[in-house]
């Protein structure tokens, strides 16, 4: 972290960048938040640790409109989103100085809480050190600990890899944290009967309160005005009135980002209701990979997305019924 | 079983639609057993079409077809006369209780070039 701060200072002081986009400590020991740092002395608040899950790519949309360059800290998986945003002309590559930061898996405090760790006062082991295998919590009930991997975000268990897709320089090392199959959950649902599937999603989506956090955090959902706020589809509403609208919103939202979603997992991370929203996106990704060939959105900034592309002998929609 | 039924059974077994035939005769032109046959390959199609299965079933042709599939390969309309004939044979074979080959006839049929396997399979197939 110190190396990162030193480099940020250097860049700010030399005037090469006008600001730094990173994280600062939040009100709790485990919720650092995205922040701009415009002066070198502000960097004293800069943090970077296992709780810095937030993908900063989307902030670059607004940062691209500001004077001067912005140093942005991107984890390996964030760089996919950044590439995708370049492809869609939403960020200006020339306005960004990308520091690829190392990542050893990001943490989900809810997972720790589910392990019975409550009343947390401080955490150690989340720092970006080599020895980060165990998390130690000081709680009002005394010291508790758990394995680092047990408190990792779902997305880190299916990590896309430790390489940055785009960067100006790299600071820190990354670790491959993949220990699960990316599509295992999707396959499990696919194997259900229609009635079971319906019940599963009915249950999952009935939790939705339409707070729009998923939409707001999603780097692919970067529309100036969302169709769900638009008068052009007769679909403008804020709250779900019935079960249909929950489905409508999430199916369409996932459809709109299909072929563009990098599977960064931010939607699931921020959902206050804990809805596993990535199950929608990953279903589209799985279908795209199976039907139109492997495609990873954001692996580069040029490739044509699968939904703006076709081949003459693509499968017919009837394949959905045929493969059962 | 009525004629209509038999005809439709033949169509079903063979998967052939005789209406596709354009009467070009390429089947008969290709047939190596043409001269042995009383009903010629191109006529199979019209017999099925007209529902005259009795004549077909009782014809010499039924047993003269070598199943070489030349007609099937070359038919420009996918009508496949060999399949029709084969279906007609099936029809006969499926008639339970009927015996088409008795052991007494065998010596007469014996021929040193004839593979014994053939006799065995013919026995299985044409005898109940």
């Amino acid at each position: 972290m110190q190396e990162l701060i030193n480099r940020a200072k250097e860049l700010l002081e030399s005037g090469e960048v006008a600001r730094v986009l990173g994280w600062k400590a939040g009100d709790l020991p485990y919720n650092p938040e995205p922040a701009y740092f415009e002066k070198a002395e502000d960097l004293k608040d800069f943090v970077y640790n296992g709780f810095c899950g937030a993908n900063l790519s989307k902030y670059m949309i607004e940062a691209s409109k500001l004077e001067g360059k912005t140093m942005v800290c991107l984890k390996p998986c964030d760089t996919y989103s950044f590439n995708q945003l370049i492809k869609e002309h939403r960020v200006d590559r020339d306005k960004a100085y990308i520091v690829g930061v190392g990542c050893k898996g990001k943490l989900d405090i809810e997972k720790a809480k589910k392990l019975g760790i409550k009343g947390i006062e401080s955490v150690s082991g989340a720092e970006m050190s080599d020895a980060c295998d165990t998390l130690t919590f000081q709680t009002i009930y005394g010291e508790k600990s758990c394995a680092y991997a047990d408190a990792m975000l779902e997305r880190c268990h299916v990590c896309k890899g430790k390489d940055h897709m785009i960067y100006d320089e790299i600071i820190g090392e990354s670790r491959d944290t993949k220990d699960a199959e990316r599509f295992a959950e999707v396959e499990m649902i696919e194997a259900m009967s229609p009635a079971e599937k319906f019940a599963f999603f009915q249950e999952e989506l009935s939790k939705c309160i339409r707070c729009n956090a998923c939409r707001n955090v999603c780097p692919a959902c970067s529309c100036r005005k969302c169709v769900f706020d638009s008068t052009k589809f007769d679909s403008a509403q804020k709250a779900n009135v019935d079960s249909f609208e929950e489905k409508m919103f999430h199916v369409i939202r996932a459809f709109h980002v299909a072929g563009r979603c990098t599977d960064c997992g931010e939607c699931s991370r921020v959902c206050p209701q804990g809805i596993r929203l990535h199950l929608f996106n990953r279903k589209y990704i799985k279908d795209i990979n199976e039907l139109y060939g492997e495609f990873q959105a954001g692996a580069d900034a040029e490739a044509r997305g699968p939904l703006t592309n076709f081949t003459f002998d693509d499968c017919e929609p009837s394949i959905v019924a045929e493969r059962g | 079983m009525s004629h209509v039924n038999k005809a439709s059974q033949i169509k079903e077994i063979s998967g052939v639609n005789p209406l596709k035939c354009m009467k070009c005769g390429k089947c008969s032109a290709s047939c190596p057993s043409f001269n042995e046959m009383d009903i010629k390959p191109h006529q199979f199609v019209s017999y099925v079409q007209n529902g005259d299965i009795e004549s077909l079933v009782n014809s010499k042709s039924l047993w003269k077809c070598l199943s070489c599939f030349a007609c099937l390969e070359r038919c420009p309309r996918d009508v496949k006369p060999a399949k029709l004939i084969d279906a007609a044979r099936q029809l006969v074979v499926r008639e339970k209780g009927a015996t088409y080959l008795s052991p007494d006839e065998v010596p007469e049929l014996l021929d040193e070039d004839l593979p014994q396997q053939l006799l065995v399979s013919a026995f299985r197939r044409y005898r109940r």
């Binding site: 005005k225 052009k232 007769d234 044509r304 | 070009c24 005769g25 032109a29 043409f34 309309r77």
Partner: protein, 662 residues
């Protein structure tokens, strides 16, 4: 709020017999915005249109719905009627209660209910319609003809004679096409070259016609009246300006082993060559694959012997960009490959040939100088067998499902010519049907049988077996005699099916012209618009549209020319106003829409916008309404829904959905 009038047509009894039209009108009056509803015997009649116009004026209507036949029939009728009464023509919607309702349903109650719902959907849509104004586009007064065969030449001549500039683009080194390969033509036995070459010369000499041979269309953009076409002029390596066409280079060229395309590979040509003696232009090309100089750098004999100094080994392909108002496709045909027909031994014996090859054999400029002889040993044949329908009328996937149309007649021609010139040759024709509709066609065929003694056998050939002595054993059937026939022949001629030139698929894609499963270009209407492609400004000439003989081709070529002239005679065209449009405030500038636009109609501009007080410069999609054809691909791909299609907007379609599901 709209003031909508609903007009329900009886269409005589076509609609009224199964739909309670009074009830439809009555129910329509209950819909929001509807202030007038009536029914009438024939809405499309003068009187019916007058009723509509009167209602528009009297009730001050802002939109109308006509419940009648398909909009594909009378949408334009009602639009222009409305326009004459002062209503914007795009404020008219049609509810199709005939083709989609009265004609397919028997139960009056059900049909009426459905008609009411269809009317309701149209009313819901028209409530959201906005007046649209067609744009105008200028017409470039120049036509492009793709293909320089008889179809292309005739079309070009007709257009040029009307006073318009025409360019012919021909892929091969000379114009002339298939017809130049034919020896004689049916049913008059005219010498093909004698009637074709004057046309070729006329085209070449015509001041309004420019011919680009050895050239291909590479790219087409634009739309009716204003196409931009890139033409690749392939390097000939001979300067057409200097070449005198003396032919010495061809004589002296040491590389003489290339198969002659013109003679269907039956003999060879030199590496520098003109395809045939009457070629236009009479300028040779160098075949780079055969040229010794090109392959090894050594030789250069042609350059040394050329007195005009026309040989230029450094010549490069040129791309020429030209604008056109109309494009005529005349890409013609080829015979199919016979690889699927082993039974005819085409690939096994040189003496089994296609009819087109026989044309070359019979031609004085052909590989045998016009003598009928076997290609294997040069012997004069005594027995010839012709087999009809080779690869035609095949629905088994090996050949073509259609009838190639010309084979019956040219086979009769070949048989007759052979019997006439060589009475010692016996000619047998195996046929399935002899099809001779056409003026003097059946008489021609009968002459072959009655006057020339050609032996026609009703039946097909099963196989052709080459014999060790060089003869061909033909095993066929005589269906009328119910006999199998074994015949020894010296030559077998296959009436091979024809298929559209394989390149046509590429061209159709460039022109966005539709093509059928057999690669024939689709006409706009099978009966009423047979020479127009559904793509505006693209016309069809000759076999590219379907099998044809020469007189039909020439007639169609003239028809295509007339259609092209009709277009070129206009100064301006109205453009379809149902085009896409981006909402500036919603557009993300993400380029997704441009990726799916088949017309390249979407570009991006850095534009200053005022978004509820926020002023900023944004990257915004701009649709060129002249290029946009209104497919709507962009509207669905746009994640924010900024892109919408006028006349088929999101809200309009949703309103229809809602009305139907109500």
């Amino acid at each position: 709020m709209q003031r909508i009038g609903v007009f329900v047509c009886h269409c005589g009894s076509n609609i009224a017999a199964t739909v309670d039209v009074k009830k439809v009108a009555e129910m329509a009056l209950l819909e929001p915005g509807v202030v007038h509803a009536e029914d009438y015997q024939y809405m499309c009649s003068e009187a019916g249109q007058a009723k509509i116009q009167a209602a528009i004026k009297e009730k001050n209507l802002t939109g109308i719905v006509v419940c009648s036949c398909s909009p594909r029939m009378h949408e334009n009728t009602f639009r222009s009627a409305a326009e004459k009464a002062g209503l914007n023509p795009y404020m008219v919607e049609i509810a199709n209660i005939r083709e989609h309702c009265s004609w397919i349903h028997k139960n009056v109650e059900e049909a009426t209910e459905k008609a009411v719902i269809l009317a309701r959907a149209a009313i819901a849509k028209v409530n959201l319609n906005a007046p649209l104004k067609p744009g105008e586009s200028l017409v470039t007064k120049r036509a492009l003809v793709i293909g320089g065969g008889i179809a292309g030449i005739q079309t070009a001549l007709d257009i040029a004679d009307a006073g318009y500039e025409v360019d012919i683009v021909e892929k091969t080194p000379s114009i002339g096409g298939r017809m130049s390969q034919l020896d004689k033509t049916f049913p008059t036995l005219d010498c093909s070259a004698c009637i074709l070459t004057p046309k070729m010369v006329e085209a070449a000499a015509h001041e309004k016609i420019t011919i680009y041979t050895y050239s291909e269309v590479e790219k087409v953009s634009g739309f009716v009246g204003d196409f931009t076409v890139d033409i690749r002029k392939k390097a000939r390596f001979v300067d057409a300006g200097k070449c005198t066409g003396c032919g010495v280079c061809q004589e002296k060229c040491p590389s003489k082993k290339s198969l002659s395309e013109f003679n269907r590979g039956l003999n060879t040509r030199s590496a520098i060559y003109t395809p045939f003696a009457q070629a236009i232009p009479n300028v040779p090309v160098i075949d780079t694959e055969a040229c010794i100089k090109m392959k090894t750098g050594k030789c250069g004999i042609c350059s040394k012997v050329c007195q005009a100094g026309a040989i230029d080994y450094e010549q490069k392909d040129e791309i020429l960009t030209q604008k056109y108002g109309a494009i005529v496709v005349a890409t013609g045909f080829d015979t199919i490959k016979l690889d699927n027909y082993d039974e005819y031994a085409y690939n096994q014996s040189k003496d089994v040939i296609t009819s087109l090859e026989l044309e070359r054999v019979m031609n004085a400029a052909g590989p045998t100088k016009g003598h009928l002889e076997r290609l294997s040993d040069g012997k004069h044949p005594k027995e010839m067998v012709f087999i009809q329908c080779v690869g035609s009328r095949c629905s088994d996937g090996r050949g073509k499902s259609y009838c190639s149309k010309i084979c019956c007649m040219y086979t009769a021609k070949h048989a007759m010519l052979i019997r006439d010139k060589y009475p010692d040759v016996n000619v047998t024709v195996f046929y399935i049907d002899v099809r001779t509709p056409g003026k003097n066609f059946d008489e021609f065929y009968r002459r072959a049988v009655e006057d020339y003694g050609v032996n026609y056998i009703k039946g097909q050939v099963g196989k052709v077996i080459p014999q060790p002595d060089g003869k061909l054993l033909v095993q066929g059937v005589d269906l009328l005699d119910n006999k199998q026939i074994l015949k020894e022949a010296d030559m077998v001629v296959l009436a091979t099916a024809i298929e559209p030139n394989p390149d046509v698929r590429k061209i159709a894609t460039m022109l966005t012209a539709s093509i059928d499963t057999n690669n024939f270009l689709t006409e706009s209407h099978a009966k009423l618009r047979p020479v127009e492609s559904p793509t505006a400004g693209v016309f069809l000439s000759g076999v590219c549209q379907g099998p044809k003989d020469i007189p039909e081709t020439v007639a169609q070529a003239g028809a295509a020319a007339v259609k092209a002239i009709g277009l070129l005679a206009k100064d301006k065209l109205m453009t379809n106003p149902c085009t896409a449009k981006a909402d500036e405030l919603m557009c993300n500038g993400c380029s997704t829409c441009a990726n799916v636009c088949p017309y390249g109609a979407i570009t991006y501009e850095e534009k200053e916008v005022n978004d509820h007080g926020i002023r900023e410069t944004r990257r915004i999609a701009v649709v060129n309404s002249a290029l946009c054809q209104g497919c709507g691909a962009c509207t669905v791909t746009c994640p924010s829904g900024a892109m919408d299609l006028q006349g088929f907007s999101n809200r309009q379609i949703i309103a229809e959905v809602d009305a139907i599901c109500r």
